[in-house]
Amino acid sequence: MSEVIDFKIRWGMVIDLDKCTGCGACMVACQAENNLAPQVDASNKLRALNWLTVYRLSNGKSFPDHEVAYLPRPCMQCGKPSCVSVCPVVATDKREEGGIVSQIPPRCIGCRYCMASCPYHARYFNWYDPKWPGDLDRTLTPDVSTRPRGVVEKCSFCHHRWMHAKDAAILKGEDPMDLPDGAYITACTEACPNGAITFGDLNNPKHKVYELRQSPHAFRLLERLGTEPQVYYLSKREWVRRQGDNYLEHEATGDNKKV
């Protein structure tokens, strides 16, 4: 339905899966940055509100040949998002330079059609009103509004940080639409102690992600579905790359790659 729009700026991530070890710092930073309420019992992962989830990958082999990898999954900010065209009330959209798929909870009616459409499970629903027990609401940040029950939310690539970076550029008299590498990074990128996440403009040769995404080890999740994600992954391990998409037995990774 909606086709890929060409943006001059395309914010994106390249996540090196050989560097991620699943410590969870990104998830903590994301929750704190984006005012996600803590959950007393988050053992039901299908009801745990996380914009960023770290999955554990296995090479499927038995001990001792078993290998493990961790895959952080933010919103893919798809070039051709399956969620945007389905929203009946334009609560989610992709039309701003930068290509970030916006989600505006105050507009959302909570029909969850977008959740059904997203194969990445990047969208989360507020099953109950959020609660900050005790004085925990004192650590809310001013950057993201709190959400009531009954609306969908998702990773925004910390869009507010982009707004602040643009503001800072304007105050310095620089071009807000040509930010230097690193002027705008997401909270998870900043928090990752292993430097597994690189963030930047995928279209800008001056940004590191531009080069990284062209690595022969780069891949995106479920590319065959044609979603054109703006999140890339890197791994030197073939088995990890193979987990990035569905392959028939005879197919090799890279066969169906669309660049």
């Binding site: 330079e97 505006i104 105050p106 707004m163 105050l171």
Partner: protein, 215 residues
């Protein structure tokens, strides 16, 4: 609506019996009065500012510049309302003898109570709105609109009420249900510029995408 019918029925009963469509008309008029004036007024709650700040006194008589109190902070954040501390720069003790000033000095300056957190902002935007004054600055608007260069205050007045000629702050009115002050700008107010294709030029880049204004 039910209630209204019961209460107003007796007085209108006589008229409508004799003049056919008169009942319809009476109903219409009553509803219009209710719907345009009475009920909207009931929806509003009026609040008084914590201090009857006199802008005229400060601006005209003392010759203060608006920017002495209302300026953009280092990160583009607007300081908006001054802090008690900045008021105390002059009012560490009462300068004049107006009761309001004396009260302010006693209640705020001497106790350290923060006036900024109590002042009712006429144009208060809800949490889900992102607004940066540094983007909507005189400099940037002046790339096309020449009128603001000489009269920067005019740009402020595009959104804000003009307080410079006000001796006592106007009444602050807030919707009981939504909690929005009367002055809260709604989307279409912002869209006067944001949905205007002329503003898509590189100078402003004010497109109308959701995340440009929402957080």
């Amino acid at each position: 609506m039910e209630e209204r019918n019961h209460t107003s029925a007796p007085e209108t009963a006589k008229k409508c019996c004799c003049c056919g469509w008169g009942a319809f008309l009476v109903g219409l008029v009553v509803a219009l009065i209710l719907g345009w004036a009475v009920l909207p007024a009931l929806m509003q709650k009026e609040l008084k500012q914590p201090v009857a700040f006199n802008h005229v006194l400060h601006v005209d008589e003392q010759g203060m510049d608006c920017r002495q109190c209302h300026f953009a902070g280092p990160d583009g954040q607007f300081s908006g309302v001054p802090t008690t501390a900045s008021c105390a720069e002059c009012h560490s003790e009462a300068i004049g003898n107006t009761p309001e000033e004396i009260r302010f000095v006693q209640d705020y300056v001497q106790t350290g109570r923060e006036i900024r957190s109590e002042w009712l902002v006429y144009l208060k935007q809800p949490d889900n709105v992102f607004f940066s004054h540094s983007v909507h600055s005189v400099e940037r608007c002046s790339t096309c609109h020449t009128e603001y260069a000489e009269n920067p205050g005019a740009l402020c007045k595009v959104c804000h009420i003009d307080m410079s000629k006000v001796t006592t702050p106007p009444v602050y009115s807030e919707n009981r249900l939504s909690g929005y002050p009367k002055g809260t700008m709604l989307m279409w107010d912002c869209e006067r510029c944001h949905a205007n294709p002329n503003h898509l030029s590189p100078a402003t880049n004010a497109n109308n995408a959701c995340f440009v204004c929402h957080k």
